[in-house]
Subunit: 230 residues, 2 copies
């Protein structure tokens, strides 16, 4: 049985959970607290990061990019119109550009710092970097998110999906990262109406249900986190 | 004519220059000082980062990952044994894992900070973040590189390439990032003999020549930078 090692507040894990669900794959899910640097986990991924997808046949797919490319290569063709990575060169370039935008840039500027300060640090021991949140870092991330909301709004104002007419990995990546920020209640939904409408569409997909059911110990999500009509 | 927008000290640009040369493509090369946020460049890539590959037919490939995937999709098949992304699932997973290791982890921990502190800051205006190098950041990067050298040594001790028997994108990514650090003379080559021998092999490929010819204004490379027998 294939197993996805993930953490509920890890935005890259969430992206991969969406990609897996959209691909019609049904692995086991194992929560991994990567900062504990569990030996068996480090043997799967020496970088010590989530997500890691351990496959049936002994293959190990490490990281959001390689896992999503693997899923498309293995399952994409049979998904036809629901394929998350288009087959035309222009579509592929645009989807991969936006996946990197969210998995790298948005993560560095917004979802990574917020997940660390408001989430991970609660569960980490002090000697591993745990402790109270750094309010300066939180303030910077909450300032940074505003131009990303405008960009999402601009992209989605005239299109069904961020990268074009269809929902693709670009939408899954963007929504995965936003969903972590939304758990903390830090998405300024009033900032852009088109961005909100786009997120409502992605959030209502069946693949999103598991994410909306996530509950972190001792930390309730924002009031509207699960609400499809927020 | 296709144009690659790059910067000589940008490790991701160097990876793509190697990938382009190995693919037998011959674009124009345009040096881009991304921090100047030139309007025409931002229209190609709103993230404002190098590399950007503007293609003949109006397509724009943004970033190391999307560009290298595009090159493989367009040119890989005819490269046959010289293909930089293997065709078997296991090979693809391992190459992409290691490309991410260097383009993300090594960049965050080593080549990014060193390129910024020792390189970019010389050319940036003070109001854009220029100024003298931060010695604390440099010291941390020079400490971080040591375990990466051991990892490269461990991977290359029993294989021809980092990801397996052949040279792949994994080798190009690793060598591209190391070459920037080597320009500054900050690679501890004594640390691992297998890593040194591996780098000497990659460095002697024709695709590497243009990188070894790079010269930054007012900043000579380390004495052995160009030496194939260092």
């Amino acid at each position: 049985m294939a197993t996805l090692y993930h953490f509920p507040l890890c935005p890259h894990s969430r992206f991969v959970r969406l990609a897996i669900a959209e691909s019609g794959v049904h692995p086991d899910y194992a929560e991994e607290r990567a900062w504990e640097r569990r030996r068996e986990f480090l043997m799967l991924n020496p970088a010590g990061t989530t997500p890691v997808f351990a496959l049936d046949d002994g293959l190990v797919a490490v990281g959001a990019g390689p896992i999503s490319e693997y899923l498309d290569e293995q399952r994409g063709a049979e998904l036809e119109d629901e394929r998350m990575l288009p087959v035309d060169p222009r579509g592929r370039l645009e989807v991969r550009r936006l996946v990197d935008w969210f998995n790298q840039k948005f993560f560095d500027e917004v979802s990574g710092p917020l997940a660390m300060e408001k989430g991970y640090k609660r569960y980490m021991r002090n000697e591993d970097g745990g402790g109270p949140p750094d309010t300066v870092v939180i303030r910077a991330a909450k300032a940074n998110i505003r131009y990303h909301m405008k960009y999402i709004g601009w992209l989605s104002a005239t299109r069904n999906g961020l990268a074009g007419d269809r929902i693709t990995y670009a939408d899954l990546a963007a929504a995965a990262h936003l969903s972590v920020v939304d758990y903390f209640g830090d998405v300024p939904w009033d900032e852009d109406e088109a961005a909100r409408a786009w997120y409502a569409r992605v959030k209502s997909r069946p693949s999103f249900r598991a994410l909306l059911a996530d509950r972190m110990p001792g930390m309730a999500p924002s009031a509207h986190y699960e609400d499809l009509d927020f």
